[in-house]
Amino acid sequence: MTALPQYNFAYLDEQTKRMIRRAILKAIAIPGYQVPFSSREMPMPYGWGTGGVQVTASIIGPDDVLKVIDQGADDTTNAVSIRAFFAKVAQVQTTTHTAEASIIQTRHRIPEKPLTEGQVLVYQVPIPEPLRFLEPRETETRKMHALEEYGLMHVKLYEDIARHGRIATTYAYPVKVEGRYVMDPSPTPKFDNPKMHMSPALQLFGAGREHRIYAVPPYTEVVSLDFEDHPFEIQHFAEPCALCGATEVYLDEVILDDRGGHMFVCSDTDNCEERRQAGHVGSLGTGREAAE
């Protein structure tokens, strides 16, 4: 039987990390540009965050504190699995608190608490190409980016307005980075798009299956595409979080029974818990939970 090797710190070998770091540096130098990199098979499936995991594995050091969220929550199964992976292969400290983390790996959300300088937000990206569903061919979309030929995207948004009276894209809403590249913000709800703009944190995007890395450096302009008469707007929820009473945050709908009963709760579980600990109570929250 072939002897199983000892895995390197953070799983990837140093050669691979160096290759990925080079791709990251290039991505930072050209904000919003998709840099091809030689993605590795990871011990979790493609499509389950392998791009984000490879980026995190390449930048993480023993002193880092890692937070992993999926759908805004720290305790969704895949977030638990990825956090456990790094706790095992890199023995790093992990946290659920946004403010304590030096690296936050995320799928589909940006934390509600504003990020600060020195923090890195690593996005898991399924389809990095914002033009993919308008033009499936890589050879074509590459040309369109090179020529800054984004008319097709505007036509798509315009058709939305003509058909539905509004832009019907609710997540993975395309943005323009530093006035040059149109970029897919990953499938975050458009609610989170404004948080990317001029963020003090470094934002890295990893797409493992599609072999692409891209980045938004700190304090970079990120503008959601729109029209003068149909300006970009984010989702607004009619009611506050039922547990912590927060408004102006993204909410998940939870079905309570089969008669249409439902409640809205914070998608960002850490933010919700911190608020409840600070004494905020929503319509269905109880004071007791704050003590838990």
Binding site: M1, T2, P5, Y7, Y11, D13, P36, S38, R40, E41, P43, P45, Y46, G47, W48, T50, D70, Q71, G72, D75, T76, T77, N78, A79, V80, S81, A84, R107, H108, R109, P126, R137, E138, T139, H164, G165, A168, T170, Y171, A172, P187, P189, K190, F191, R209, Q235, A242, L243, Y250, L251, D252, E253, V254, L256, M263, V265, T269, C272, L284, T286
Partner: protein
């Protein structure tokens, strides 16, 4: 009262404990040993090695056992292990002409130097379920002593007469691409394309190859030759200045011979479709050679009209580890995005109702 679901960690570990239990099954039934899998489920082992891109029967058997017989899961396990291995370098091209042949057939010539050998094939078996094989002792087959006669490749023999295109214009001393080390950049050269096909999903390539036979990018194929056997893998050691043998591996090679009417520059001649796969994997090698030939449409100046000829389409979707990951990721939570869609649909329905009420 809703309390945010905690306990993902406990749920995962319990699920994995249950998985281990189900994998083992009834404890009164003896556990499978790896050598049993290697010896008695050899073609499954071969497929896990081939699409896993790692020639190691015991590891492939372990992967099959761990995957409860799920081939794509086993392939994934092998790949995820393979990617952690250091690269010492690249072997010299294997010489399939010097193969120790166990099976060799040609559909284009009735007889040829080296002869035809059926070898261990399902061909011409009657597919009748045979309960007698369970626990049965099989008598030793009669094995004819190997003939010293060399079996040159059919395509080489055709090539000598100028009827077959040469074996590609790849510089034998040139660097070969490595799709595990460089991101794919379309359009691809044939070396990378063949690498991708060699690890591509057998079912996917089978369906595409089949589609070319049914008229979607027809290529008029003949099986020039299929050969299965062991080839020597040699490795150049710079310190020594010569190649050393690393051992022998079993491979299946298929050379498809296809019509080509010629072009302004090239006289009419036969063209090649090539398949080479670890182990005994005839269906895969044949499908691979059909698809390889179809994908040479651009190079040969043929019209690209069918899915099997579309390189970006074929190669982007041929890897089952990538495909299964992305298809199965749909079961991960998507409730944040779904919420956004729910909100939009409700808003649009409210507007629709308001408009109807006005009319």
């Amino acid at each position: 009262m809703y309390v945010a679901v905690k306990g993902g960690e406990a749920a995962i570990s319990n699920a994995h404990a249950l998985l281990a239990d189900r994998r083992r099954g009834d404890r009164n039934v003896p556990a499978l040993r790896l050598d049993q899998i290697v010896e008695q489920l050899g073609l499954a082992v071969d497929r896990a090695m081939g699409e896993g891109s790692l020639y190691d029967k015991e590891l492939a058997a372990l992967a099959l056992l761990q995957a409860r017989g799920d081939l794509i899961e086993a392939i994934f396990l092998v790949r995820a292990y393979r990617t952690t291995l250091p690269r010492f370098g690249y072997s010299r091209p294997v010489d399939t002409g010097a193969m120790l042949i166990e099976r060799r057939i040609s559909a284009t010539f009735k007889d040829l130097p080296g002869g035809q050998m059926l070898g261990p094939t399902f061909d011409y078996t009657h597919r009748l379920l045979d309960p007698n094989i369970v626990g049965d002792e099989v008598p030793q087959p009669v094995i004819r002593a190997a003939e010293p006669e060399r079996a040159p490749r059919v395509t080489d023999m055709l090539g000598q007469q100028g009827l077959m295109e040469p074996d590609g214009d790849t510089d034998p001393e040139g660097e070969v691409g490595d799709l595990t080390r460089e991101p794919l950049d379309f359009p691809l050269d044939r070396d990378l394309r063949l690498q991708a096909l060699a690890r591509g999903d057998e079912g996917f390539l089978l369906a595409l190859g089949y589609s070319t036979q049914r008229g979607y990018g027809r290529s008029h194929p003949f099986v020039g030759e299929i050969r299965i056997g062991e080839v020597e893998v040699e490795f150049d050691v710079p310190e020594l200045g010569f190649a050393v043998s690393l051992g022998r591996i079993r491979v299946t090679e298929c050379q498809m011979v296809n019509q080509f009417k010629g072009s302004a520059k090239v006289p009419p001649q036969f063209t090649r479709g090539y398949g080479l796969v670890f182990g005994q994997a005839e269906r895969k090698a044949m499908a691979m050679s059909l698809v390889d030939r179809a994908l040479r449409a651009r190079e040969l100046g043929e019209d690209i009209v069918a899915p099997a000829q579309d390189e970006e389409f074929v190669i982007s979707h041929s890897d089952n580890v990538q495909a299964t990951g992305f298809v199965e990721h749909l079961k991960l939570p998507h409730y944040v995005d779904f919420q956004a869609e729910l909100d939009l649909i409700r808003r649009m329905r409210a507007e629709h109702e308001a408009k109807e009420a006005l009319e």
